[in-house]
Structures are given as C-alpha cells and as structure tokens.
Amino acid sequence: MLLRMNQAVALGIRDEMRADPSVVVWGEDVAEAGGVFKATVGLHEEFGDRVRDTPISEMGFLGAAVGAAATGLRPVVEIMFIEFLGVALDQLVTEAALFRYLSGGEISVPLVVRGSAGAGGGFGAQHSQTLERWMVGSPGLKLAVPSSSRTAYGLIRSAIRDDDPVVVLEPRALYGEREDIEPSDADIVPLGKAELVAEGSDVTLIGLGSTVATARAAAESADWSADVIDLLTLQPWDREAVFASVSKTGRLVIVEENPRAGGWGADIAAAVAEELFDDLVAPIVRVTTPDVPVPFAPELEEKFLPRAEEVVAQVNGLVDDKRSIGPWWERETVTV
C-alpha cells in the first residue's frame, strides 16, 4: 500500500502495541487528534487509554515516561518538535540514559522518544533544527533517524523493542512522502545497522534522514559512481558498513542536515580519517548547512539545506583534483 511516512510510524507503533500490552503512547494531542503530524492516527481508537494526551509539560510527561519505563511499561513519547526537548533534556540524557548504570544494571528504561526534526517546512529558527548533538555522546542512549516510510516503520518497531532509551528523529519534511510497502515483521530495521542503498566505486556518500535522498539524487545525476549509505542509526553508528565502503572507494562525502559546528558527520569523518588514513585518496568532505539559524523565507531555507548539486560539486572536486573545494558559502561571495 502507498504509505506516507507519518502513517508508517503509526502503523509501526500499532503493530508493537498489538504485540505487547506494555506499549503506551503519550504526548501533546497524540490521542484524540492523532498527533499534530498525524503520526499516531488511529491508535487512540484502537487502544483507548493506552494512548494519552498530555498537558504542555515536556519535562513532566517525559519524566513520567522514564518512571513508567523503569516500572514495566514501554512508553513511546512524542516531542512534537525536537527543539522542545530544550525544556526537558534532563529527563532524557541525565535520567533515562543513566538509569541502567545507576541501578547497577537492575533497571531498564525501554523508552522511545519520537521527535519531528529538520527544516524545509517553513517553521522558522526555533522549529526546524535536527539537534542530534543533544543526544549523541550521551552514553546509554540510542538514536535513530528514518529516511522513508519503510525505514520509519522498521526503526520505530526496533526502538520500541529495545530495552534502552531510544530517540527517533523523524525528518518532518518526509512525513508526507509516500512509499509503496506492505509492512510486516520482516521489515523491522535493526538498530545500529546502516543500509547500502546504491552501489558504486568512486566515492562513498553517507546520508541520514532527509539527506539520504539528497545523496541518492547526487549519485544518480553524476558520471562518477557512488556507494550511498543510509546510516539509519547514529548512536551507535555502523562502523563496519562505513569502513567497508570507504576502504573500497577511498573517498567520502557526508551529507548532513545540521550546522557544520557540532554536526553528526564530524565523528564519522574523524573516525574514518583516523582508521582509514592510508586508504583515503582524497580528503573527506562534509556537506552541511552553514553555521546560521534556520532562515524562514522559503528561498533562503531551500538554499540553506544541503542540495544534490552541492554534493555533486564536492565529489567532482574529489574525483577530479583530489581536493576539497570548500562549502558553497565560501565559494560564492555573500556580502553581509
């Protein structure tokens, strides 16, 4: 069936709720309204009080979810826009992530936090970031990012089954994208495993969430050939898949929807540069957004985001001259 990504999320949650009565869903307007982004539609009808609307109290209901997870439930909490974690981060990274450690392994916190993330929707500077960096580097926490209906379905199911707190960042721009799938248990996407979504030999392109399509589009439009990796899980990321590909291609371009500073690709670039030093025939390039707030005006927002043409330009530089040409905002003269 043709499924939009938000429908795929709802379906994944539904299937886990059918399989396991301990799964509950909490968040602002997730029950009666089925979520602001319609990613929980139908759940309240089917599961009644297991799906609950909360007051506007992210710290309160996320904290409650931590407590519930520690005592037998598997709460799936929606943080409508991931920025809202800014009022509740403590419960996720300082409490949930550390409970197993701080209970000497006696307590698991099988909590899922779903948050919509990213730009492209015209939601402005406070509702358009991806903010992986708030979660990455929190020992005890896992972080996954779907790139399609299929992977959204598969990852949310894995996340719910996982015995540790897992954050799923759903690229908001993809909620409306359709994919023809018949999701079933066979489509569960394991955490920690990347997927090779295109094969080639000249360069490895890594995408995550919204940038997987960007990387694919770049690969399809160019005359070099690329391995395109959909990373899917950022914490822990799939070193094996990345290293295998880059040792083959010798070139790596990481396509990230986040500012360059603190962006998720830096960890991977650093690890590859360290471990595959001798295999690299050209510098690793990160295609990111500039280090500025997400602009609202549609023309600027589009330019702000990583684009396939930019990926192509960067790979061309690596293939032709073995050098990095620098990001577009350094190449073009932008007078402020």
């Binding site: 909360t54 009022v87 402005g124 500077a125 602009p295």
Partner: protein, 330 residues
C-alpha cells in the same frame, strides 16, 4: 519604522482608534489565513480572531518603554503595539518587508522600539524573559514594567512556575497576562488542567490575581490599566487571567472539530469588535454608517498591505548570514 510604530501606538488613545485597530487585526489575520489556504504561506500561522480586545486594551495602557513578551499567537499584539500590517504579513510571507526582513516567519515578530521582544515559539519561554526585562528596564532608573502574555496551556509548563515564583521573591514589576482561550492546541483546558479559573494559580506565589472579561475592550483596558499601574507603583508582580476565546482553529488549516458543541456560537455573541462598535453607536460617538465606513476603509488598507507584501521581494541571500553574532554584521 520606530516613528511610525510610535504614532500607531498613540492612535490607541481614543476608542475609535481602538476599534479601528481591532478591525485591522481581524482583517490582517483573515488575510493571513486566506494566503495560507492559497499556498502562499509556508509553515504555520496562529491567528487570534476573537482575542483582539486583549491586544488593543493591553497596548493602550502600556507605555512604549514597557516591554512585552508574547507568543507565536502574536500578530494581534504586534499590530496593537505598533507594527504595521505590512511588517506582520511581510514576515508571515517571508518577504524583506517583514518585521525582521522575512527570516523569522509568522512566529517571530519583533520591534523593541515599542517594547516588543522577539515573539516566542516555545510555549512558556517568554514568561521568565519578561521578568528579566522588567529588571533590565528598572536598572536604568526608569519605572517601566514588563508584561508576559501567554495562553492557558502555558500555565502547565515549568517556566511559568519558575518565573512567577522568581518575580514574587524578587518583587519584579511584571504583569502576567494569561489569555485563557480554553484551548491549548486541540485540547480543551479541562483535559490538561485541574480547573479553569487559572488566576487561582497565582496563590501559589502569594501574588495578587484576578480574572477579567477579555471581550469588552473598555472594561478590559480599565482593569489592565489598574493592574499595570499597581505593578508600576508597587514594583511587584500581578497576575491577570483574561477570559477569551479564539474564533478560529489553533493554526494552519485547523477547523477546530474538538470544540464543545455550541461553544463557538456562544462566544461569537461576544465578538469584541461588535461589542465596541455597538457601544460607540449607542453612545453616539459613531453612527452605524460610520462604523461601516471605518470597517471598509480598514479592510481596504489591509488589502493594500497584502498587495504591497506580495510585491515585495524575498530577503537577499546575505540575510541568511546577517545578525548571527555581533561580528556577523547587520
């Protein structure tokens, strides 16, 4: 821009000016919704039809050096405080004519020259900021105050609690203005909050508090004036719950199917624009024809503003890199 804003503010000194502004807010919001429906507005918009009296009454009793923090549902406050329909709609459309040149969008309007801090897209975030703004203003020997305007739903978030406590302990002249429109997004207040009379929450901070009608701009301005004066003269906080209602959905194309049956109709009987129009007619200040003419005139002005905004260019690429830090230039 600041001259114009100040003169627009001054126009609220008389009640016809207040009526005019309420109509302007209504028409501006309607146009924004229409442009949203037509696909001209990206992202989200939160309009405030039905709550216009709150914005206008508030702006009419504040001094330009008083500071206001408000929310994404801030177009009405912005227009009342002095921004023009072009500045508001320009921002909503992401054009360089917008209040901050189109890089912010519907949720981010700003004009410090009339006391409007950048409007807040995070629920509750503006409440503690108002506390600090009052302290900042006072530090220059000025007796300005600050107002934190927020919704009923925001009273459930931690920042609300911390801000009220801090303001009371530090004796800061802030008016906490809760616009209780009975809904936070799609949830009615009774499903998220133990009671509807939110002014009662101020007792947890020993803060003077009251509930007032939000549909009659005359009585509201009187009440707010009293509270603002009290905060100013005693240098201490007050809590005002304004009973009001939004006549439209929460945002975007929300049709508000979650309303209680009949509730909207009841509230529509208390349209703030009608209440003031009728009273001005009853008092002989305007006649029915004049009210009609005023409405037509304002409607036309807002339509012209729509045209102007549509014709105005998007921000230049350089706007993406400006105003990030002091060093990033302007």
């Amino acid at each position: 821009m600041s001259e114009l804003a100040l003169s627009r503010r001054k126009a609220l000194d008389d009640r016809v000016g207040q009526l005019r502004r309420m109509i302007e807010i209504r028409r501006t919001e309607e146009n924004i919704q229409a442009m949203f429906a037509a696909g001209l507005v990206k992202g989200s918009t939160h309009t405030c039809q039905g709550q216009e009296a709150v914005s206008v009454a508030l702006a009419s009793v504040l001094r330009p050096d008083d500071v206001v923090t408000c929310t994404y549902r801030g177009h009405g406050h912005a227009l009342a405080l002095g921004l023009t329909p072009v500045e508001v709609m320009g921002e909503v459309l992401g054009r360089s004519s917008g209040s901050i040149g189109g890089v912010g969008g519907s949720m981010h309007l700003s004009n410090p020259s009339v006391g409007l801090l950048p409007t807040f897209a995070i629920v509750g975030a503006g409440i503690p900021v108002a506390v600090g703004a009052a302290i900042g203003r006072r530090s220059t020997g000025n007796d300005a105050i600050a107002v934190a305007a927020f919704g009923d739903g925001a009273t459930n978030i931690g920042a609300f609690h911390e801000a009220l406590n801090l303001a009371q302990v530090w004796k800061v002249p802030v008016v906490f203005l809760c616009e209780n429109n009975l809904y936070g997004e799609y949830s009615r207040i009774d499903r998220t909050t133990p009671f509807e009379d939110l002014y009662r929450r101020a007792a947890a901070y020993d803060m003077p508090a009251r509930a007032v009608d939000g549909q009659d701009v005359d009585s509201l301005a009187e009440e707010l004036s009293r509270e603002v004066d009290a905060a100013r003269s005693t240098s201490s906080p007050r809590f005002v719950e304004v009973k009001t209602y939004r006549f439209v959905g929460h945002s975007r194309s929300d049709t508000a199917p979650y309303r209680r049956p009949g509730e909207l109709d009841e509230w529509l009987k208390r349209d703030p624009i009608e209440i003031l129009s009728n009273r001005l007619i009853a008092e002989g200040v305007l006649d029915a024809e004049q009210v009609k003419a005023l409405d037509a005139e304002v409607t036309r002005e807002v339509e012209l503003a729509v045209d102007e905004v549509k014709a105005s260019p998007p921000p230049p690429l350089s706007a993406m890199f400006a105003n990030v830090t002091a060093e990033a230039g302007v």
